[in-house]
């Protein structure tokens, strides 16, 4: 029940506790609860085996209206390859898309397929369609479901067995999580954006630093971020090992939701928004751990290795083994650099790139594309580049960008302007790196082979990616910002 703040004497609660407690169907043990799952995003790659499981056990989808389906992971981004499903060149991808279509039809699930302007990356369309709401639980068979935590939503990625579990029961058996608050004091410097902050935090706590925890991002720098920026931050909580990223609800959240909400929410707006306004950690709430970061210390970041915590400032150098404290880290550095074809001590600004990718559930929203376009300012992609592509996160993002003329800025500069999907973030379609190719990428993972077998990924912000495209190598955007820009 919602408590009245004037009479409440309950101990202060964290945002995680509030979100968790309101969805406990049954406490199962000291560690585990049966949690109710309000909303479920599905797509072509991790759902077919779940529907097959339902069929073989004779079960039905518990609440079809709680599920939203789209195609994103394996679909082509070239228009002529997706006019209809039969145009998809990859026969296996085609079969997965067809299987999803059959499954959503059989179970009466809402679906935004190819050719629908609402098609796009699951974590882009949920928020922009007003489907992601504060105070809810959201799951998807995708680890970047943490993105939705930006709305004061308990959202996390699950495997296919759990996709089936939620389809069948609307619930999951979930182990309680510990809390880690990352407090970011002050304001981010000019030219430093949410992606840089995310990489800085991951480097600070390590790629396994958040295991077993929900990370709540708080402080002045987070309050100043747009919803897009908060989504970028929560999206990458999983790269620090945390399944859940969270930001408390404030006016920025409510404003974003109100602009996109459906009639059902708008008809209950006063009640709903009053409820959502309570969704923040109370002052004095106890966290299991806390990390404090001064926003002024955060520079534009670039990753140099094969784990997202292997990052340095844009004007920095690749670490040397002797700089690292433990043997495992030294070995990881050597393995990474051998794969990346780089030497210790190299300045990042001396590293040339072959391809540039702007897209993914981390950085393909309208604000990301505006930021990238602003960095272009009439300049052109370096002739040394093999490819530079922009893949909007959804059909709606693409339409908005085209209304603003951003697509022309990209295309005139030499970028390809594609149709929405996950694309080169994971290279399940034909957008990928070839062996040895180096990419400045706005995506979330620099793992070996992530963007294509043998490909070398460097994670950066949208403006850093554009700067790398223009110069054919990494540059520090603080020194590259176009003179005539705001």
């Amino acid at each position: 029940m919602l408590s009245n703040p004037t009479t409440a004497i309950a101990p202060p609660q964290t945002l995680l506790q509030k979100l968790w407690n309101r969805r406990v169907v049954k406490n199962l043990s000291e560690d585990e609860d049966l949690l109710y799952i309000d909303r479920h995003l599905i797509y072509e790659v991790t759902s077919p085996q779940a529907f097959e499981g339902l069929r073989s056990s004779g079960r039905r989808v518990w609440r079809p209206d709680s599920v939203l389906a789209t195609v994103d992971h394996n679909v082509p981004t070239m228009r002529h390859e997706r006019k209809s499903v039969s145009d998809i060149p990859d026969r296996l991808a085609q079969e997965q898309v067809r299987t999803l279509i059959e499954n959503v039809q059989e179970h009466g699930i809402k679906f935004h397929g190819l050719g629908d302007s609402r098609q796009g990356i699951v974590h882009v369309i949920g928020p922009e369609l007003g489907w992601t709401l504060p105070g809810t639980t959201i799951v998807a068979g995708d680890s970047h479901t943490s993105t939705h935590g930006a709305f004061g939503t308990l959202a996390f990625g699950v495997g296919t067995s759990d996709v089936e579990h939620v389809l069948a029961t609307q619930c999951l058996v979930v182990k309680q999580m510990r809390t880690l608050r990352v407090m970011i004091n002050g304001r981010l410097p000019e030219h430093v954006v949410a992606k840089d902050l995310a990489l800085f935090v991951i480097k600070a706590i390590g790629s396994a630093g958040g295991v077993g925890h929900a990370i709540e991002f708080a402080g002045e720098a987070v309050a100043a971020l747009s919803m897009e920026g908060r989504m970028t931050l929560c999206n990458m909580a999983i790269e620090a090992g945390a399944r859940v990223g969270l930001v408390g609800v404030d006016e920025t959240t409510l404003e974003y939701v109100k602009q996109r909400a459906g009639d059902k929410v708008l008809n209950h707006w006063l009640e709903a928004s009053a409820d959502w306004k309570t969704l923040h950690s109370d002052s004095g709430a106890q966290f299991d751990r806390e990390v404090v970061i001064e926003a002024k210390d955060v520079p534009p970041m670039v990753t140099w290795g094969t784990s997202p915590d292997m990052a340095v400032p844009a004007n920095g150098t690749i670490p040397k083994p002797e700089d690292l404290p433990d043997e495992q880290q030294r070995r990881a550095l050597e393995q990474s650099l051998a794969y990346m074809g780089l030497e210790p001590g190299t300045r990042l600004v001396d590293v040339a790139v072959d391809k540039v990718f702007i897209g993914s559930c981390t950085n393909s929203r309208i604000e990301d594309l505006r930021l990238a376009a602003r960095q272009i300012q009439g300049r052109s992609v370096s002739k040394s580049l093999k490819q530079a592509i922009v893949v909007p996160g959804s059909g709606l993002v693409k339409q908005q960008a085209e209304r603003e003329g951003l697509h022309l800025m990209f295309m005139e500069a030499g970028f390809e302007w594609r149709e929405p999907g996950c694309s080169m973030c994971l290279g399940m379609n034909n957008d990928r790196l070839n062996p040895g190719e180096r990419c400045a990428s706005t995506s979330n993972r620099n793992f070996e082979g992530r963007q294509g077998a043998g490909g070398r990924s460097h994670l950066v912000s949208p403006s850093m990616a554009v700067a790398a495209a223009i110069h054919g190598r990494f540059v520090d955007v603080r020194e590259d910002y176009p003179n005539d820009a705001v």
Partner: protein, 212 residues
């Protein structure tokens, strides 16, 4: 789910930290719509010299003989020894399916990523966490000429190795119970069907905006 009570087998050392699920099973294999058939593609990019595709006959592919899975002395290993943060990254359950298909029933490491840990359990694979110094010693023994065998008894939370030492490991009572009995998770939740229906009725009152 596949039950797990005891297991005895040979240990295969994979000496890397942060082994992500993209490395365990690369994306091209996620185009399959089945839960099986991934075993030959486990650690594909490290194991073979070429880039694989679904449907390939892996017996004909050029193998990287420096990778432990291809070494004769680790043939038929069913226990994987790893470092820290094994299974990080993507939530793909295909990683657990591939390990299971390739015959692995136990993974011993310093730590595991959350989503992978759950996926492993759901497929009858037991992840065992032990301190770094123990893991270091196990690597030395597994890499020695005689190799290492281990025996796991889940009921008593015990791991014993061929060199004579044994340890007890931590695992939550809930998870242990489910693994021992091989319980169907969905079936467990459906025991509480009345509670779920009751929860929905109350939520519909309290948060009507969530219902169409």
């Amino acid at each position: 789910m596949t039950p797990f009570d005891t297991h005895k087998g040979k240990v295969l050392p994979l000496d890397r930290s942060n082994v992500d699920t993209d490395a365990i099973i690369p994306k091209q294999y996620m185009k399959s719509i089945r839960k099986t058939g991934y075993g030959d593609f486990l650690f594909d990019a490290w194991r073979y010299k070429d880039v694989g595709e679904l449907g390939m006959n892996c017996a004909l592919r050029a193998k990287n003989m420096d990778f432990p899975i291809n070494m004769e002395r680790f043939k038929d290993a069913s226990i994987l020894l790893v470092r820290r943060n094994f299974g990080c990254g993507s939530s793909r359950e295909h990683a657990a399916w591939a390990l299971k298909d390739a015959g692995f029933r136990v993974i011993i490491g310093e730590s595991f990523a959350d989503i992978f840990y759950g996926n492993a359990i759901k497929n009858g694979i037991l992840p065992i966490m032990l301190p770094a110094d123990v893991i270091e010693m196990l690597f030395e023994e597994a890499n020695s000429a005689v190799g290492l065998h281990a025996r796991v008894d889940l009921a008593s939370r015990a791991l014993a190795v061929s060199s004579g030492q044994s340890w007890s490991f931590e695992i939550s009572d809930d998870v242990r119970e489910r693994l021992l009995k091989g319980l169907d998770d969905v079936g467990i939740s459906l025991q509480w069907i009345d509670d779920i229906i009751d929860f929905e009725a109350k939520q519909r009152e309290r948060e009507p905006w969530l219902y169409s």
